[in-house]
Symmetry: C2
Subunit: 339 residues, 2 copies
């Protein structure tokens, strides 16, 4: 009720509301003297344009949707942090959509929910979308075609070169790590992944397989539940029989579980068994021994994705944004879990 409107500013400045609007949106079109006067009044009154009205009139909402599968996984929260900081710098607000955390088993239901979600996102009148989905499939890709605003896939690998995306080259990362361990003289190298298939993790597996193949080594992929209580049981059964020289684990928290079980069985790390995780989360540092992990700068990824989306949203009809597919660099943080 006591919200200041553009009329109030115009009245106080003795100009028409059109001029105030211009100061806000096209300051170069206003005479410096009047502009400064109006700017001063805007500041004094603490005027902030009503976003709904602005959005309706200009069909630009200066809002971006962030669609995530859930927030609890530390990687996702960190990406969103990066997005948020970059959005603030660039003057965009965020709409947050947490996509279905249910219906995991029934793919059909899930796809329907996903369609629903896109409907809501589109209707929420945002200027662009940052989309994070670890289980991105071709079905999801198809849904993108009907979205009338730019979408940037974030940490969501997709082979289609026409879809904007910012990610990490997980294939190359896993390949590099595997090759490095081979070069250090290890032969029995396992890859440990979740049963559930995440696009990112499948890329890691592929990179691992490629490196093993090139070295003529026998690959072995262990699939376990993503749940700590369950996978520790599997790890125990497994490690009671045999263990590799090196285990490359698709994510840190699972790598820590693996280490914990190995130690319980008196398998010495790193002398008898070396372990490498992915993501370099806090788990890596709090584990004992501290976990070597592939650091994937996920905060930066959020920033870059927002940057890319901004250029997509703000590009003129005739221009074209190049470099639509970007990779963030990774690096390996060596700690005590390898020799």
């Amino acid at each position: 009720m006591n919200q200041i409107k553009i009329y109030d500013v115009a009245g106080a400045a003795g100009v028409s509301l059109a001029t105030v609007s211009r100061v806000l949106n096209h300051p170069e079109k206003v005479k410096p003297a009047t502009r400064e006067k109006i700017e001063k009044i805007i500041r004094e009154l603490g005027y902030k344009p009503n976003l709904n009205a602005k959005g309706l009139a200009s069909s630009k909402s200066t809002t971006v949707a962030v669609v995530v599968p859930e927030l609890t996984r530390s990687s996702i929260a960190e990406i969103v942090n990066g997005i948020a900081d970059c959005a603030t710098r660039r003057g965009y607000l965020l709409r947050l959509f947490v996509a279905g955390r249910n219906n995991y088993d029934n793919p059909e239901e899930q796809l329907k929910a996903e369609k629903e979600l896109w409907g809501t996102v589109v209707a929420s009148s945002v200027d662009g979308v940052l989309y994070i989905n670890d289980e991105f499939t071709e079905e999801h890709e198809k849904l993108l075609e009907d979205v009338p605003m730019p979408v940037v896939l974030t940490n969501t690998p997709c082979s289609n070169p026409n879809i904007p995306q910012v990610s990490i080259d997980y294939y190359r990362a896993a390949y590099g790590v595997t090759k490095e361990m081979i070069d250090r003289g290890n032969k029995k190298i396992w890859m440990i992944k979740t049963i559930r298939n995440y696009a990112m993790n499948n890329l890691k597996v592929d990179g691992y397989l490629q490196a093993m193949k090139e070295a003529n080594l026998e690959p072995r992929i262990i699939e376990v539940s993503g749940l700590t209580e369950r996978n520790e049981v599997s790890f125990k059964e497994l490690l009671q029989k045999e263990h590799p020289d090196v285990a490359i684990v698709v994510r840190d928290s699972m790598a820590v579980s693996f280490i914990n079980v190995a130690r319980l069985l008196h398998i010495h790390i790193p002398d008898e068994l070396q372990v490498i995780g992915f993501q370099n989360t806090r788990y890596a540092e709090l584990a004992r021994p501290k976990l070597t992990s592939v650091n994937t700068p996920i905060y930066e990824m959020g920033e870059k994705a927002m940057d890319l989306l901004t250029s997509l949203m703000e590009c003129e009809e005739d221009e074209e944004v190049t470099n639509i597919k970007q990779f963030i660099n990774y690096n390996v943080i060596e700690r005590d879990s390898i020799k």
Copy 2:
């Protein structure tokens, strides 16, 4: 461009757009026959009202702002998950504001940034705000007075009984845990906290102090950096000299650091030293020995906060929402770090 508008629905149904609008907002005012016809067409066309227009016309945006200090801390992400799920159920969208992660040292700057933030939040035309701030002070409380929509403090303790809030009784939780350990015959009980003062943690300290006082025991509060690399140094210096029977640590990750250092110094846990954390995060389960922790159901807290906010937003002028201050129950998850 190919977005369907209310006009299109009205045209297809052979009614005026007012009637379509009524079907959406006050279905009881429309004759069932026409209502069903219109609803069918809405479904077929996949019509979704433009939120900006709706918001402008009704001065209700069905959007709620979520203001958080940052997302990376697992507790906060989990609260937001709870908020998001509840918001979806209740038909609200979310606007996400990640408050200043900078200017920590300069309180004046920070307050100014906070004012700025509230300006943006208010101008973003949301119907209500869920506000999370671990460093909530009286200055922050004052800023709330000028906010023209309901605000629910979430996991943000505040003594003012007129401000809606959903939290956990950290005082009672810490008091209870301390008393329990005293009852089990322990005498030398320390409280370990961060140097930085968080409102929640200060309540934990108060509860601890009260229990110690009642038992006539000498309290001791250890303050360390919140950063793992730093606090592990402090812990080492400390533990080389002496250790308590029980350490109650304000958060899990710090408790895990403490355990790690103790084990390095061959202090046996739990025989010589027992450790209790707060929050029952995944760190607790991945630690060795597994950490006993006060489980604070933070997801539920998000849900309850959103519920409370909804009743605040939707309450009629004449009604009043009671039960404006809510506590979520906590419980202690006993694991291997205590006897």
